[in-house]
């Protein structure tokens, strides 16, 4: 698969992560896998500068990410977390949060955004506390998409949901990725999920990037003993 890389990390390190070199292909889904505590969340939060590198450089579209205004970078590189973290109020209050910060909200957007995540537009006025877990996560996704990001970071975004809801959200993500040409970086501890929707994968362990490559090749034919072990433990 030939693609440009949209994000690239050179010799990045933090207190937790060591010697990171990787690149994220544009308009593809990259999954980050690895045991819990490996530093997956720490890594993904570097990409929208919710955390900082101590050494090394991350490039976004060829430019050092530190050269972008932080808020602008975070709008272009959106993020969805394991919990929806919705704000108090209605669904629409949440959807308009990002755009309103720049006075760019048009109430017609709410319908489009809800449609994007397969929720009826009548949900606009629902209080977020009345939604199910899966619905909340869809609203969180729509809230992030409201900023029209180029890159979407997902940190275990489906791991709090049941199997069916997870699959529905996966299909949603694949559709959005293809229709809107969004690059996705998805942390998951779910190997089957990685297989289903990942194009590329990074395997992280104890703060180190052990192996990376095309998802199917990586998971079917791991070349390091670390990843082999990890896959065996997961299968057992």
């Amino acid at each position: 698969m030939e693609t440009n890389s949209i994000l690239r990390c050179e010799n990045g390190s933090t207190r937790i992560l060591k010697q990171l070199c990787f690149s994220i292909p544009e308009n593809r889904i990259t999954t980050i896998i690895g045991p819990s505590g490996a530093g997956k969340s720490s890594l993904i939060m570097l990409l929208n500068r919710l955390e900082n590198l101590d050494n090394g450089t991350i490039y976004y579209k060829g430019n050092n990410i530190n050269d972008y205004p932080v808020t602008e970078l975070r709008r272009e590189i959106g993020m969805v977390f394991q919990s929806a973290y919705l704000f108090d109020g209605t669904v629409e209050d949440n959807l308009k949060y990002g755009p309103s910060l720049q006075n760019k909200w048009d109430s017609k957007n709410a319908d489009k955004l809800l449609d994007l995540v397969d929720l009826p537009s009548s949900y606009k006025l629902r209080a977020v506390t009345t939604l199910s877990g899966g619905e909340q996560q869809r609203v969180a996704l729509a809230r992030t998409l409201a900023n029209k990001p180029n890159v979407l970071l997902l940190d275990e975004a489906t791991s709090a949901l049941d199997v069916n809801t997870t699959k529905i959200i996966e299909q949603l993500l694949e559709r959005i990725q293809q229709e809107d040409d969004i690059t996705m970086v998805m942390v998951t501890h779910n190997l089957a999920q990685s297989m289903r929707i990942g194009d590329f994968s990074l395997y992280l362990q104890e703060g180190k990037l052990i192996e990376s490559g095309v998802t199917k090749e990586l998971l079917d034919n791991p070349s390091t003993k670390e990843l082999k072990n990890f896959l065996n433990i997961k299968k057992a």
Binding site: R49, V70, R75, R143
Partner: protein
């Protein structure tokens, strides 16, 4: 003023009142006897000591007494309120400055409008009320600010990730902290006089001042306290929410 003196002998009969809850505590095995006795004893001794201190302060030149005691009150209030701020950097300095500024401003207003004269027996009790209430409000605001930053870490990260600045992302919890700090005074103002006569008014009426004159004083005091509390809470949250972020608009890691 035709004040009724309370004799020392009649005061000692109050011990009877303490014996009642102590016996109840024994009877129901509440295990409270020790703390009832201790806190009553401590309260009495503390008040007598303050009585002597005030007598002394009122006997020296007014400005000396005022300067000395107001300083002590501001410092004690600072230490007390800052304790609720845990390990927020520079919390003591900020709290000290806020309480000092409020105290000086309120005093200037009171003297300016001629509500009181610059004498120790007027300035000290009123300062005590303003400083005491500000201390409680700041303490509540700090406590809430800290716990909210911990509890709402996820939502703040979500707001930051949507392009919010630190100020925008903490608006929600700054509001909650302000509310927490002001609610006791808001509730107090709403029911003032209906449930409980304010301590100062009770004191004035017992001391022989007519109820309406006592009310006027109480209005001035209550409003001054209310305004001080509101301003203190706003200043302390507006200044200190920033310390939870670094200059890269990132939420700092809270160790512990």
């Amino acid at each position: 003023m035709d004040t009724t003196e309370i004799s020392n002998l009649s005061l000692t009969f109050l011990i009877v009142f303490v014996i009642i809850p102590v016996s109840l505590s024994y009877w129901f095995s509440l295990g409270l006897s020790k703390s009832i006795v201790w806190s009553s004893f401590r309260g009495v001794v503390q008040l007598f000591l303050i009585g002597y201190v005030l007598t002394f302060l009122f006997s020296i030149p007014d400005w000396q007494g005022i300067a000395l005691w107001v300083t002590v009150m501001v410092l004690v209030a600072t230490i007390n309120a800052s304790k609720r701020g845990g390990n927020i950097p520079k919390v003591r300095m900020v709290v000290f400055l806020i309480i000092a500024i409020i105290e000086v401003s309120v005093l200037a207003l009171w003297l300016g409008f001629g509500y009181i004269t610059f004498t120790a027996d007027k300035v000290i009790p009123i300062s005590g009320m303003v400083i005491g209430n500000s201390m409680i409000a700041i303490g509540l605001a700090l406590e809430r600010l800290q716990s909210q930053f911990k509890e709402e870490r996820g939502r703040i990260l979500a707001a930051l990730s949507l392009g919010a600045t630190p100020k925008q992302s903490s608006l929600m919890i700054v509001r909650k902290s302000l509310k927490a700090a002001m609610i006791p005074n808001i509730d107090g103002l709403k029911t003032i006089g209906l449930v409980q006569l304010p301590g100062m008014m009770t004191g004035l009426i017992l001391g022989g001042v007519s109820p309406l004159d006592a009310v006027k004083y109480q209005i001035v005091i209550s409003l001054s306290i209310f305004v001080s509390v509101a301003i203190c809470a706003m200043l302390v949250t507006m200044v200190l929410y920033k310390t939870f972020f670094n200059d890269k608009m990132q939420l700092k890691v809270i160790d512990k």
